[in-house]
Symmetry: C2
Subunit: 136 residues, 2 copies
């Protein structure tokens, strides 16, 4: 049944997108990890360079870096003996897309409320004059 | 020392903004909580209405709702005996701002890289003709 195969594939894609969103949002929910992303946003750097400004052990910073790598926001490559970290510029696309979608809903509702308030205001201003027509 | 007071106030503001960002990102790092936000984005609803589509106990959904309320993304008000939930349309502003700032950095770097690649391409095309001038 090819239809069923497509359905299973689509479900798997949704599941992995959901898991990616979970991982990226969780990765961003920590000030040290956000600071690491800010640092790497200005340019790639060695693990030791990234760890330097933080008042914590290299081991503690490394744990945060591993969370960022697992979420796909940060990538690591080797240059000789050094481990170089960089940000993955496409990793926030899905997170961004989700937030934009929510904003879209909310803005539509805010627009509708504004229109309603505007109409109510218009009616109130017209009411004394128009009352005799009895339409409202 | 008024300068010191201003400094302490500024630090407190940064600390509370940081805590809000932590709370909102953590709140969004769960598929049930994101689904609740999507539901409430289409209009306010009672707690029982929000819980209905989920295959979990009312108690489990209530816990997720409390996390969303603590982060400021969802608000609750009472209408008679009902608890009505709604989304706070301004709650994603800081999260959005942070993501936009990162994107800003990255896009600048991507632009710079593109320019560099373009310049390298231009040089390469010119190279055979220009070699005799010996500037490169």
């Amino acid at each position: 049944m090819p239809g069923r195969k497509i359905e299973i594939k689509a479900r798997k894609e949704v599941a992995s997108r959901t898991a990616r969103l979970d991982a990226v949002f969780a990765a961003l929910a920590d000030p040290t990890r956000r600071a690491i992303i800010e640092r790497l946003s200005r340019g790639e750097a060695r693990v030791t360079e990234v760890a330097e400004p933080f008042h914590m052990s290299l081991n503690a910073v490394s744990k945060h870096i591993r969370v960022l790598e697992a979420s796909g926001v940060v990538a690591r490559h080797r240059k000789g003996r050094d481990h170089i970290l960089s940000v993955n510029a496409r990793s926030l696309d899905e997170v961004d897309g989700w937030i934009l979608r929510m904003r879209g809903y909310w803005e539509k509702r805010l627009d509708a409320m504004e229109r309603l308030l505007y109409e109510l205001g218009k009616d109130r201003k017209l009411a004394p004059k128009d009352r005799k027509h009895g339409s409202r």
